[in-house]
Assembly symmetry: D3
Homo-oligomer: 227 residues x 6
């Protein structure tokens, strides 16, 4: 059985001596989170691998984007739910709870986003991310068109795809190495919210009335409905 402080089931040798930028990054984690996420600890045996991972994940999750930071965390969690990734559901589930300021939303997305009462834009975003996870070979132009019809730009589509793709990667690295999440994640943002708080992710920006009417007619066209 592995030692209780090990981030993974692999014995990767002593951590590397962190280079200054990496050292600073770890220090910032300690300052802001109170701990260094285990995925970073896992990568710490090699400065180059650690740096590449940090550059990529920070760009994807924190840089400017047409997707809100909450939406990007929702994608991370919905993707991680498909193949049951313990590490990512725990760490990014906490992130959804915190960014949505809503503990119930975190559970909903981690368990089954289809049970959440999401606006069509976010529902379509997660449908695309999950289809891309389950059957990337079956994605067709019509799937991109669906996103465009709900107001996503082509840059937004790139971002949805890039975030979903990234968690397909990190889910698998976590699974292959039996990566364990920091225990702090389990307890973050678990305070009960007011029963009247709508369980709904705040839309990242107000879609124009035109976009909104497109949304509605698109939803209607999608499947036949009896009145």
């Amino acid at each position: 059985m592995r030692g209780k402080d090990k981030a993974t089931a692999l014995d990767l040798g002593a951590p590397a001596t962190l280079e200054p930028d990496m050292q600073a990054y770890f220090a910032k984690c300690m300052e802001k989170l109170g701990f260094v996420p285990n995925v970073l600890q896992a990568y710490a045996f090699d400065n180059a691998k650690l740096r590449a991972f940090i550059l990529m994940v920070d760009d994807l999750m924190l840089a400017d984007s047409g997707l809100s930071k909450l939406e990007r965390e929702m994608i991370a969690v919905a993707v991680s739910s498909v193949k049951h990734c313990h590490y990512c559901l725990t760490s990014h589930g906490s992130a959804v709870r915190q960014r949505a300021k809503n503990p119930e939303m975190g559970e909903l997305i981690a368990q089954n986003y289809r049970a959440a009462d999401l606006p069509p834009r976010q529902k379509a975003m997660l449908d695309f991310a999950v289809l891309l996870t389950e059957a990337p070979d079956k994605i067709e132009e019509a799937d991109r068109e669906e996103l465009r019809s709900l107001g996503f730009t082509d840059r937004d589509i790139w971002d949805i795809a890039a975030v979903a793709a990234f968690y397909n990667m990190s889910n698998r690295l976590a699974a292959a190495t039996d990566m364990k999440p920091n225990r702090e994640y389990y307890y973050q943002m678990r305070e009960q919210i007011d029963a009247e708080t709508p369980i709904r992710a705040t839309a990242h920006r107000m879609p124009s009335p035109a976009a909104r009417s497109r949304e509605q007619s698109s939803a209607k066209r999608r499947r036949p409905r009896a009145e």
Copy 2:
């Protein structure tokens, strides 16, 4: 229909003005390959995303590792075969043909690595990469033990996992954006090899006799065999 020079089905705007390190990287591609791979063209709308991608892929595929460069390309191709990624099968299929100096090996891994006559070490490596692709939630300690029993160190296991995970990501980015490979890839290393050339990847290093005998008895124990 998209313009014939576009790398993807998305309209991501004009390429960014490349920063000097990225400009140098593209120049090196032109010099060594005669073209800039379309995946880099696709990322070129944003210097930060492009740089993170290059740092990660070059570390994974070219840095020091217990896995040979050919073995890492074999993982890329076997993973890409699972969900039929056109971009990666074309570009990394070419890489396997070139690194193995064997056009037939490239086809074999791209079509079904189980039909290739691989040594047990490489067969197990690809079995792990494909299991990780198909059912990451079902990976258990026994799967890591199987790799160790064939002579892989824990650092090697990290590398197998990291490369397999990375192509789960890039397969999906390519699928989501309908990324097209540069046409040059189709034609690289297609010259007929001597009929006596064994269709077999060169083992990256000579396993010790002890490792070799472990291999054989492990293979034997795995499934019952009639004598």
Copy 3:
């Protein structure tokens, strides 16, 4: 959109006038839990259906059994994880947290029981429950033998099967009706536990030394191991 108090997406008419035994049961729920679980509210349109459901679930989860109550909740949650049942993961996830007195255990089983550090007996129990969920047509005598070899009696096997089968039913009733869990469940047993608490379900009873040694050799025989 459904009214905020409705347990399901179906309009099943007014609740029936509860018959005295059912009325008493609801009163007991209010007294012990502070609420009536939504699954019972959903069934309350018909006394006969409600009674049959309560009789079955209480017998399965609370009657005498070779499986502890925690173990039965673990089966409920592991089964519900396979097809992402929001209602059951929320309500029975809470039950695992409470019965294990361990909030982390609840998350682990709900996300992927294979990532939990379970004793072989419980691991095999959940493996059987999940195989039965995913591929019941492929269960063979060898699967029952595996459970017997770890100390389960044939009555225990019946109970594992009956609980796993029951949650295959209630998962689907919840999915078909979009059943929503009571919001209280999200917040139960979320208090941080001591960092030294082992994340491990208490074994329901001490297996005899003989059983324990059988366990170990069985685990060993299951897959080839390096020394």
Copy 4:
């Protein structure tokens, strides 16, 4: 090898002394069927489990419902076909043959209901039951709307869901225990019917002309058709 009279592969000890209501139930089975179904024999080791099972199954299959008894048996059989449940296909296959007075209908539903020439209402009912069996996590409001558009009330939808869910349970209990059907089932209602008998389940009630026109236009809207 198990004794020839055993209902399952498990050794559950001697049958319990049946309590009077259960004894009466078994007597009624003997009188009406000439045998006690093996599923009841299997449960007979415990009066409480037996009673809960009988209460639930009799309510589902025999109580008042907007679904005919034949339609409920069709759901049982279509669900049991998905994962190849020998016990349920044999016993409920016989029930479909008998209730439809049509031996061919029993085979059709047991083999592949899509090959039967069913009215749209029954086709949609079985499509929902099978989708709920295969992918409960992907059920959405549009699936319920489809049933409503074909004239099903919300209570009917509950009943479709409840019957389909129940056979997901009993299929798995049968599989886990290798339950064998009574041999009588194989031979019931095998007499050849007149070649002119339409292979079609009798509709349970006459849908109103309005409902019928909704059906047709819904079917038309469902998929594009060339004229």
Copy 5:
């Protein structure tokens, strides 16, 4: 809706004028079976296609082989069960009932051959046929070795593969064209057999004691067993 005499949902034009050998074949069907199987009626629009089909199916199912005719029908039915082929389950289900002189055996193989009490040789034969149907890309040398260890020669393995492969073809032709079986098949060999008749396919030939002991030890080695 198609005319009641049409073998398929396709309108393939008038049947061709049968050439003499095909005419003779149809006459022989009428004489021996009392009808011409609908699959032949379906092919009758083209003499060349009809002849090729008949030559292949008769060679596979009736020519000399290490597999008995019953065993070949069992493969046909087990394969057809995987993807629920109505035509083949009905027609070849009847063939199993007749060749086994056992109506219950026909149902067992059509529903789930794993529930039949088959000798290890026949169980392995069907396991191979079904694995080949579900995951041909994952067949490995060890699967062929398993068959050899149970006494099958390499020619027998060819025959198992060829029959299983053929029904993967005809299942799909039947599905694509909605082929309907002749109604006579439903009623053939439905007479009740003596309760003492073992539900077991007659072994095609007596395996030598050596083969038998290999069988037993192979079965034992396959999965760990408690004593």
Copy 6:
């Protein structure tokens, strides 16, 4: 390990003495191809099996049909891609390259036909062939109607089905026997084509303007589109 000249992993004894028509057929292969395809070498242990195979494959791939020979090869390759058949992807991949006079088209269909820029008629043809391969039990009348709406006659539908079904068979015979393709196939039609050659299969016949307008409106109706 098998001898280097063996077509399969099976030891099927010496080839039969070929009967005159078969001998002539092999001679013609030598003359036209320069080799006898290994699938024929594999069958050569038995004249009757060899003849039935040749009659069927030649009728399917070379006889008159509403499908061009290239289209039939495209079906063979798209089907073989689903389950990764090394033999068929290699041999029929070469056939697509040659018949399309386009090496890139061969790779595209072998890797993922959805990435090829095919006209709607050919896209629908391959969609049907692949659905028939993956889920034959779910084919419904609407799937045939879709083909008819794109101009396929019922005889064409038979041919699509028959070719797709046939490669479901031969894929499995190749997988079961580990059949190896002749090495010549790897190198055929690998010469670089002009960069301006459209990567597009030549349509087999000019659809009438009416058919073309049906195509477009059908494609539009199929999925909602934003303008």
